[in-house]
Amino acid sequence: MIWTLEPHQSVLASVLRVLLFASLRDRAGWEERSIPVSEAGLTAAQVWDQLELGPLESVCVAVNQELVRSDQPLRAGDELAFLPPFTGG
């Protein structure tokens, strides 16, 4: 289940910005959402499970534009991004 805040509802101090890229955008049907930080110690892997976009394996996680492990605890205000396998160059 996903909690989504409309822009006028945003409470920056208590939400995460979640970003998707490339094929994940197509799969989810959205690029960016704000979701409430409902519990202390929430991890990227737990947010991913809420999104119901399939298995996390082969998806990279970035928090505040840094690549991190998916079990890193999140804080309100974080920018959390899920990144499918890179295909640049």
Binding site: L19, E66, L67, G88
Partner: protein
């Protein structure tokens, strides 16, 4: 165009428009004994062999530039090379257009060549870029890199 670089030794550019590799190199080139350069262009066919209309390149602004800078720094240090230039296109590219330019200067040819090659591989596997092939009005995200 976004351009970053913490010092004279590394220059990273993410460009939304077509660019000339030779102008980019000419602006950047020093007088090191050895320079190795790689240029990657859009193939005329999709991975399935169909005629390609366009190649779309998406990236994660911010993380992408910082990651390229970090990868370049690591590879220069690892190989004992002197300077690196990375230019990468984003947006919609046509067949034959340049996607990427990687250039490395060093004092020895082997070092320049290995660093250029390793930096290219690092960039392909560790920098947040994604390619989508357009054929017959349909876009398909690539799931992995072409083989070496």
């Amino acid at each position: 165009m976004v351009e970053i670089g913490q010092d004279d030794s590394i220059r990273v550019q993410i460009r939304p428009d077509p660019f000339s590799a030779f102008e980019a190199l000419e602006c950047w080139a020093g007088a090191a004994a050895a320079s190795a350069v790689f240029l990657g262009r859009v193939r005329p066919q999709t991975l399935d062999g169909e005629p390609l209309q366009a190649l779309e390149l998406q990236h994660y602004p911010g993380l992408c530039e910082r990651q390229l800078l970090q990868l370049a720094r690591e590879q220069l240090q690892h190989h004992g090379a002197i300077r690196a230039l990375v230019v990468h296109r984003v947006g919609t590219l046509l067949p034959g257009e340049l996607i990427v330019l990687v250039a490395v200067e060093a004092d020895r040819r082997g070092c320049a060549q290995r660093c250029c090659s390793d930096l290219l591989e690092a960039l392909k596997h560790q920098a947040p870029f994604w390619k989508r092939e357009w054929f017959s009005g349909q876009g398909t995200w690539l799931s992995g890199n072409t083989p070496l």
